[in-house]
Point group: C2
Chain length 732, copies 2
């Protein structure tokens, strides 16, 4: 139980008293969340929300911020309603509020939980200073399909890394005290299995086994509960034939009964209404009943509870007790935020002015951005750019685009003026003696495919340069919600231009800005260096310059597998071995699990990333070859910086359970540590393993471990060949 | 219960007596199936099988045929062993034995159950005349991913069509009497869900819900049981974490306890052994125990039972009763085949000579082949080729390739001399007055990509022609087992040549030979006509000529969805609606389930196919707007041939259950009828619907229907826009 869930007799008495005064309609109002008219992300928009506030028909508002505006709306609730219940203000603060950090997937690539927590903490400080109490973040959906646009918004494909990132984000947003004015309520979303959409198409049908739900998709949600997350958001997809907002299995059996979650559950945008097109509800009234009965506490934007729940109570098809339970959960959160003490305590102009865009926040954004970048290739130490590179051709549609720097879901982030572009960052860093000749050269718009507009100028610039830096990738809104693709290539005519640039014979550095893994195999074969920079945020241009010029030695590792081609998707490192595994030992053998035309292997593995220095790994040593039921063991390896500059390395520990009552993945990440090593320095990194770390959903659907042999790797990336495993035995 | 499963006291007494004499090792021998040294499809090959036969260590042999050779091996068993138990001879007779019919997927495209049954009957006649008792066919795996190579070997993506085809094939192979010497035992394979391999990669992990298993993957197997199929084969994949050959849930709970299957279960090739790489078994002894305990009766080629089961009995980790049960099931089949009466009754040289390649069999193969072909495009009635087309350029690597005509898994089919190529078929049909100028022009080999070898000659031929017939597609072994692809385009340099041919301005007819849906959107946009001919078999060249020259009016309809691009896979028509369905009404709306760069719609829908004539559909009439629990209703539409030549139309009936306790597909095929109509002729086609036809796996996992509204279409293809639905109400 988190601190905030501790029994509070004073709170209970206050809420008992308040609920004793509430009419059914006022109660239903507390279950209703509506958007202000600032923004919308779905099909329904109610412009009568101000009247609804005054009438007590709405208890929470989203897409409203600034101290002034939230105060103004709060006045409508507190002064305009009978019971003066304050509003709760929610907002999509996803990777920064005003100061925008790298997209969530990029942050995960840092494998730096302190940095990720710091990012969330800064976001909370900024958002709360503008009157926001609650962010619809973190998204903790595991994503194993690069086609899915929202892969950009999570922490990638891995259960363990995803769970750690979920915890760091919840800690960052909520801090130690929900009532502190510089923290916000976090939301674990989207519950559940949203990332498993068929063919990577957003909102599409999910069909997975319960075992995979439990072992892959649920653990980051459970981690968020363990970290004390205050709220949950349902997902748009169905699970086992039932839309998540109508799933009593997910919202009650798992979330409440098995996990003991004490906060409240909000739907995603109009997802109760969407149970009709899903074919699960005859009409809105039934949809509302199904959602309430399943365990939904708050209806986001659908106005289904608002307009139909009273009829259901009158008809006896919904339970007053369920409504009371939901109202109580929501009022408890308002109480814990201190809103009944002072409804305006978050809406403070002076704090707002002192908080937004604080220099230390901008510096944090720059720091997280460079920590998020992943060096994918660096042939002949092309990077960092040497001092002799006095003439740099900077080419590509993403090299000088403010709008793109902050990616999608950038909340209240400024897309026009604040973001530092890569051109700006590089020019500032390079100084007077270096010429940076910028040519856009190509376009990422799909429609530009086939066009050679701008190529001539770009090629001319390249021909005159010492080195070409091509900044290519996807437009900011090609990932995120409702932004799925069936191809993973560089969109538009970028690939064609890249080929022309390579043809000049000049060294080419490719900087990729994107929210998903792209199939950049040609680039990997043909350019000298590749830096994946995600969408690096407000300070992104500086951060890219820090890395390109060597002021920061890149240390990011991929939180997702990069496929060779979209036809390999879904693709992830923690797959099963199958009965006929492909082996490099017999590449010509036909009857193996393989493709005719493409390797099984990805372009870049999960956990992969280079540095400007090199690290060597010693063999792994185990404290004991046997792990007993109540014991633990320690696995250690010594990592040495064998290069000539300091660098950080994400040391990763993987295990494989060789035989199980059900088949087990070929590797599972079970630990990691990011170490900073000076040139020549060695450090022994140790991981402690207990049997519970090796638990999974067994054949009988119980959760636990099984005795037997395990392989264990300590390695710089996933991959069975990344290093030799050691073996231990887990005994009863 | 099929006839053969009726109680037979005489048989029981015979087997009781025989089993009373058998040692444990002799019993285990009956559970063992080994290959002769003719062919192999997997990693293990035992060259000691003749010694094994003499020692009674093997009860069945596969990959052995001809009357002489099977007689010779049978003599080893009958004269060389103590108990003289005859061998059972199995073989992969998949789409013909000597006379090769179109690949199985192609046959399904005929939607002609009589034709499909006839194909299996011919196969049985030929195979049994060479001493074969048992075919490892039909494969009834639903396949919804065109990447998967074995999509070619089944009946496509649809549950209903797949079930009908499964029944037709079982009827065709087994006939009315297992003991008739011209029938063979059929095998329903691969049990189960083999087609759901992740990312379409053969043998890869399957992860689906139990609901999808039951509603999508199992029904064709249940249909095979209902038709009396004699044997089942396990699949290579896992289901719910357990390899199918170790799945007691599949092999006992479902197959025996729920379905009452009375035949025997054989594994796929070495699939018991493969439970070790799966990570399900520690060693072969455990694997054997797990397989036996799950419900496996016969071990194909793994020799696991042979080498380890006695130890398991000695150790008390396997049950003598399980072994006895399996032995009995196998001996029963040998008894029913009449082998105890006359072990050589199938090995009859005279019958063999009189049977193979009978003219009527070849004619049947030609007939099924033309019925299987699907006309995908025919702009301006480019087809049939008019008499005035005196100069035809016939181009492409598949236009004159005997080896490719018969596709993969062509059993004892001759790949060198017998197959009639398209060049041969067209030349013979066209006669003297027409010049058919054949140029290979391109290659389907992956390695030829980028090469323009042969293009010049092909383009020159095209320029001199009245019409170009390009025969392109995939090499015969690019589908089938272990033949998955990550791309669905025309392999090699065929697409590039096709573009050159189109650029000549001559009308281009594309004939596609392939075992999977290919992403031929460019062709659809740019050539005049497209005929999909699958791999049409021994008589394929004549059949293609029949269609191209208009001697046969094409009537096939696609049994699988053809995607626009591989990035849409898995793709099938019977998807769920989702909560945010894309609608053509609001193409610019963002927050819908769609891709940024590609439509959701496929290139060609399931059920689609053109004719040289046209058909119109009347609105649907219902006998009653309400269907009661014990009643039925009839849906009718009148189909009219509005063109000027006779043709056959596959009239399809789809339903949608609008609201369910779980979400339901947007359409489900529930009936079809192939009607032949003369020019101007009308026919009213009626479908009877009972509540049981509308059953599915409900929320509580029970199988049954639910009351409510249904949409119903009678239409020329799947697709919500193919025609307007009518609505009926199913009442309690």
């Amino acid at each position: 139980q988190p601190d905030w869930a501790a029994t509070d007799p004073e709170m209970n008495a206050f809420i008992d008293d308040l609920m004793g005064q509430m009419t059914l309609q006022e109660k239903i109002g507390q279950l209703t969340l509506l958007t202000s008219d600032w923004e919308s992300t779905g099909p329904t928009m109610r412009d009568t929300y101000q009247a609804d506030i005054r009438a007590g028909r709405v208890g929470s508002i989203f897409n409203a911020y600034t101290a002034d505006y939230t105060r103004q709306l709060q006045e409508l609730a507190v002064e305009g309603t009978r019971l003066k219940i304050p509003l709760l203000f929610g907002y999509d603060v996803i990777h920064g509020h005003r100061t925008i950090f790298p997209i969530s997937l990029g942050e995960a690539a840092s494998w730096d939980m302190d940095a990720i927590e710091r990012s969330a903490r800064v976001s909370a400080a900024e958002a709360s200073s503008e009157g926001i109490h609650w962010t619809f973040s973190p998204m903790v959906d595991i994503a194993r399909d690069a086609r899915w646009g929202r892969i950009s918004e999570g922490a990638g494909e891995d259960v363990y890394l995803g769970s750690q990132v979920a915890r760091a984000r919840v800690r960052g947003y909520q801090g130690d005290d929900l009532g502190a004015v510089d923290t916000v309520l976090a939301t674990a979303k989207h519950f559940a299995a949203y990332g498993a959409a068929q063919a990577g198409r957003d909102y599409h049908t999910v069909d997975i086994s319960e075992r995979t739900l439990r072992d892959v998709y649920l653990p980051p949600f459970k981690a968020a509960v363990d970290e004390g997350v205050a709220t949950f958001m349902t997902s748009f997809n169905e699970y086992n034939g039932v839309p998540a907002s109508g799933s009593r299995y997910l919202l009650t059996d798992v979330l409440r009964d098995q996990w003991g979650f004490d906060g409240f559950v909000v739907t995603d945008y109009t997802s109760i209404n969407e149970m009709i097109p899903h074919g699960y509800s005859r009409d809105l009234q039934q949809a509302g009943e199904q959602a309430l009965n399943a365990g939904v506490d708050m209806d986001m934007q659908g106005a289904v509870f608002m307009e139909h729940l009273k009829q259901s109570i009158d008809a006896g098809t919904a339970s007053q007790a369920d409504i009371d339970q939901a109202v109580r959960r929501i009022l408890e959160m308002k109480y814990r935020l201190g809103l009944f003490e002072d409804p305006y305590r978050y809406s403070d102009n002076a704090r707002q002015d002192a908080t937004l865009y604080k220099p230390e926040f901008l510096e944090a954004a720059r720091d997280v951005a460079r920590k998020s970048m992943v060096l994918l290739k660096n042939e002949g130490n092309t990077l960092p750019l040497v001092a002799g590179a006095k003439n740099i051709a900077l080419i590509g549609p993403l090299a000088d685009s403010k709008a793109d720097m902050i990616g999608s879901w950038a909340a209240a982030g400024d897309r026009q003026t604040r973001p530092v572009t890569i051109l700006e960052g590089m020019r500032q860093r390079a100084g007077e003696g270096t010429r940076i000749n910028y040519v856009k050269g190509a376009s990422y718009e799909f429609a530009s495919s086939g066009s050679t507009d701008g190529f001539a100028e770009a090629v001319a610039a390249a021909e005159q340069a010492d080195v070409v830096v091509a900044v290519m990738g996807e437009k900011w809104d090609m990932t995120g919600e409702a932004a799925s693709r069936t191809a993973l290539d560089l969109p538009g005519n970028q690939q064609a231009l890249l080929e022309r640039l390579v043809a000049t014979g000049k060294p080419v550095v490719l900087v990729v800005l994107s929210g998903r893994p792209n199939s950049i195999g040609w680039a990997d074969d043909n350019v000298e260096a590749i830096l994946h920079a995600w969408y690096p945020g407000t300070m992104g241009g500086h951060a890219v310059a820090d890395v390109l010029f060597g002021d920061y030695n890149p240390s990011g590792k991929l939180p997702v597998t990069f496929p060779l081609t979209v036809g390999q998707e879904p693709l992830h490192y923690d797959m099963k071995n199958t009965g006929r595994p492909y082996s490099a030992d017999n590449p010509q053998q036909k009857y193996l699990s393989r493709y005719l035309n493409t390797p099984n292997d990805p372009l870049y593995r999960f956990g992969y990333g280079l540095s400007y220095t090199n690290f060597s790994y010693s063999p792994v040593t185990l404290s004991n070859p046997t792990l007993s039921a109540n014991g633990s063991l320690t696995a250690s390896a010594t990592i040495t910086n064998t290069g000539d500059r300091a660098g950080a390395e994400v040391v990763q520990m993987y295990v494989r359970d060789l035989v199980g009552s059900v088949t087990r993945p070929v590797q599972e990440l079970k630990g990691f540590e990011k170490v900073i090593l000076q040139p020549g320095e060695s450090r022994t990194v140790s991981f402690r393993i207990e049997p519970k770390d090796l638990a999974f959903t067994r054949a009988d659907m119980s959760h636990g471990w099984e005795p037997g042999e395990f392989n264990l790797w300590i390695a710089p990336s996933s991959g069975l060949e990344a290093s030799a495993p050691v073996t231990f035995n887990l005994t009863e």
